[in-house]
């Protein structure tokens, strides 16, 4: 083992690790990025809109699905800012309520994927050997499933529903986190502090919990943020083909599916749903980008 140059590189801290004290600096860098702030605001608006939907719209029952045939196909007006749909329901109300299913899918799918994928990846990377091989082969198997086809299969087997759509998507999402965390874990193992804990006699499970998890947090966080947008998109696609949320529950994907037939003459229905999906997905992507830029000291701009 030949020698190392004594280097104290002030500008390059260890990979993946976050300094708690630098949170303030990071928050400041974040605030300076207009796209980051904008995307955060948009997301917050949609989330709050979804949570407080019944209060925000004068037509909560229509949002939930109650028809209003007399007013069907109304273009945007004072009473209905986004018009009404084919059953006369206020489109804005439908969008707000639709946000509930879409955002729920987004957050829950990613949550499940992280909860399953991160521990598996950490275990695979930490123990190596046969354990690693087995977990990785299982991961590969799941990676081979395209989300939509799996959703169709699950729907065929268990029936089309919101929950089943969620399970189908999560099924195909967790392998990415397993891979990501495994790679991070492998590079962490090259550092000595894992060995140091081992030489102290700390049990393997404690090492994984206390030392590996906190240090893989950063890339997982970035990936998860961007994936929420992706999950929403996939959820919309599944609803679009009719396998997810069932009517009369509002859902953006479903809205596009039913609304596309008369899109040319009455674009406000499918259009608003499409715009909502677009805005939310874009915002999560931008937010993920911003978080990554802020957490990576190299791209963080000077104070």
């Amino acid at each position: 083992m030949a020698g190392m140059t004594p280097q104290e590189n002030l500008l390059a801290p260890e990979s993946g690790a976050v300094r708690f004290k630098e949170y303030r600096l990071m928050a400041r860098a974040f605030r300076r990025d207009p796209l980051a702030v904008a995307s955060l605001i948009v997301i917050l608006l949609f989330v709050l809109g979804a949570i407080f939907a019944p209060v925000l719209t004068p037509y909560p029952e229509q949002g939930r699905g109650a028809p209003n045939i007399l007013e069907k196909f109304q273009p945007p007006s004072r009473e209905h800012p986004l018009g009404t749909d084919y059953l006369g329901r206020d489109v804005l109300a439908r969008i707000l309520f639709g946000g509930r299913s879409s955002l729920t899918i987004g957050f829950l799918v990613v949550f499940i994927a992280v909860a399953v994928g991160v521990p598996l990846g950490a275990i695979a990377g930490y123990y190596g050997g046969a354990v690693d091989d087995i977990i990785m082969r299982i991961t590969d198997m799941f990676l081979a499933f395209p989300p939509l086809l799996l959703a169709i299969a699950v729907a065929a087997a268990l029936g089309a529903s919101f929950t089943n759509a969620m399970i189908a998507i999560a099924f195909t999402w967790w392998p990415w986190y397993a891979r990501l965390v495994r790679a991070q874990t492998l590079s962490l193992r090259k550092l000595h502090f894992i060995e140091a804990s081992q030489s102290i006699g700390v049990s393997n499970s404690t090492i994984i919990l206390r030392h590996i998890f906190p240090n893989v947090l950063t890339p997982v966080l970035v990936q998860a943020t961007m994936d929420i947008g992706g999950a929403i998109l996939t959820g919309a696609a599944i609803s679009f083909i009719g396998l997810g949320v069932q009517p009369p529950t509002a859902d953006w994907g479903k809205m596009i599916s039913t609304g596309r037939i008369y899109f040319i003459e009455r674009p406000w229905y499918a259009g608003s749903a499409g715009a909502a999906i677009f805005l939310v997905t874009l915002s999560f992507n931008l937010l993920g980008d911003a978080i990554r830029d802020v957490l990576d000291p190299k791209t963080r701009r000077a104070g």
Binding site: A2, M4, T5, P6, E8, L10, R300, G303
Partner: protein, 327 residues
């Protein structure tokens, strides 16, 4: 005697703007490299030696900025050259080799391919002549079986061979100055001695001047003609190797040498310099070494010492010698 000097760095200042503040990596670095000599730029971490090496080739990474000073090569200030001109100089007249040769060689191309490409780019030779020149260079750096190495990929070579290939690469275009940044630090001791012998040989047979950047005083003692000791971004002492290492003037040089284990001092505690190298974000006022200096005077706390000549090419930046300045 002025045309004896190949490279002249004067009062170089380099800053890095980071989120934590301004890092003063180089603060008034001044030294010369003469034709046909090996000059050692030696110092510990934070002394700015590596950044200085990069600055000579105008390759200081972002967010570093050269804020002051000149770097003259053959009398011309490199800092004023255009990008176009620097591209001709880089690799052509001044070449650089690094600590990790595997990081400098493209893993996708054979070693020979890379050397030939660079030769043709700078010297505009035909394929055949470039090939011949490359092989000649490989032999000159002591690579065994030059033809086999020519067709090898970098990862197929050991560390020592890679470093030799790097040196061949660097000198293949007839560079006059080689900047070597810790070229042997990552190598085993027995291989290290081979490479150092090679550098000395290149100086003797090809007249190459070498700026050897290192933290290892033993390496300096055995290979360098002259040496400059750097601390916290500036030169504190410079001169002929024997003068600086055995007739040292600056308290830091003294402390550095006293801290190295010597068999005569076996069994006694080593003489450590108290404290640690200052952080580039917050350099002490006056002389950067004064907080750790056993001989600090009151003036050291406020006034940075200028580099003065003590005669016979021996320079020191220390208030203790203010009265001995040679006119």
């Amino acid at each position: 005697m002025m045309d004896d000097i190949l490279l002249s760095v004067e009062d170089l200042h380099i800053e890095f703007q980071t989120y934590a503040g301004t890092v003063h990596a180089v603060n008034g670095m001044t030294f010369d490299v003469r034709r046909g000599e090996i000059f050692g730029l030696v110092g510990e971490s934070g002394c700015g030696k590596s950044v200085t090496g990069l600055a000579i080739l105008r390759m200081v990474p972002e967010p570093g900025v050269i804020t002051q000073g000149t770097i003259r090569f053959h009398g011309e200030n490199l800092l004023e050259k255009s990008d176009e001109q620097m591209r001709t100089i880089r690799g052509g007249k001044i070449a650089m080799i690094f600590q990790d040769p595997s990081a400098s060689l493209n893993p996708l191309f054979t070693v020979g391919n890379q050397v030939v490409r660079v030769i043709r780019q700078h010297l505009h030779l035909g394929k055949k002549e470039a090939l011949e020149r490359a092989l000649a260079m490989f032999e000159a750096v002591g690579l065994p079986e030059p033809k086999r190495i020519f067709h090898a990929y970098p990862h197929e070579l050991s560390g020592g061979l890679q470093q030799r290939a790097m040196i061949a690469f660097a000198l293949s275009t007839g560079a006059e100055l080689l900047v070597a940044d810790e070229p042997t630090t990552a190598l085993d001791v027995t291989i290290q001695s081979q490479i150092l012998e090679l550098l000395i040989d290149l100086r003797d047979s090809q007249g190459v001047s070498i700026l050897l950047i290192t933290h290892n005083l033993g390496v300096v003692a055995e290979t360098c003609d002259r040496v400059g000791v750097a601390y916290a971004g500036s030169i504190v002492e410079a001169g002929a190797t024997d003068d600086v290492l055995f007739d040292m003037k600056h308290p830091y040089t003294h402390g550095l040498l006293a801290a190295i284990p010597h068999p005569s001092r076996r069994g006694q505690p080593l003489q450590a310099i108290e404290g640690s190298v200052p952080n580039g974000l917050a350099l002490p006022p006056g002389c950067p070494f004064h907080p750790r200096c056993p001989k600090a005077l009151p003036i050291c706390q406020t006034q940075p010492p200028a580099l003065i000549s003590l005669g016979a090419g021996h320079f020191v930046a220390c208030h203790l010698y203010a009265g001995q300045k040679e006119s």
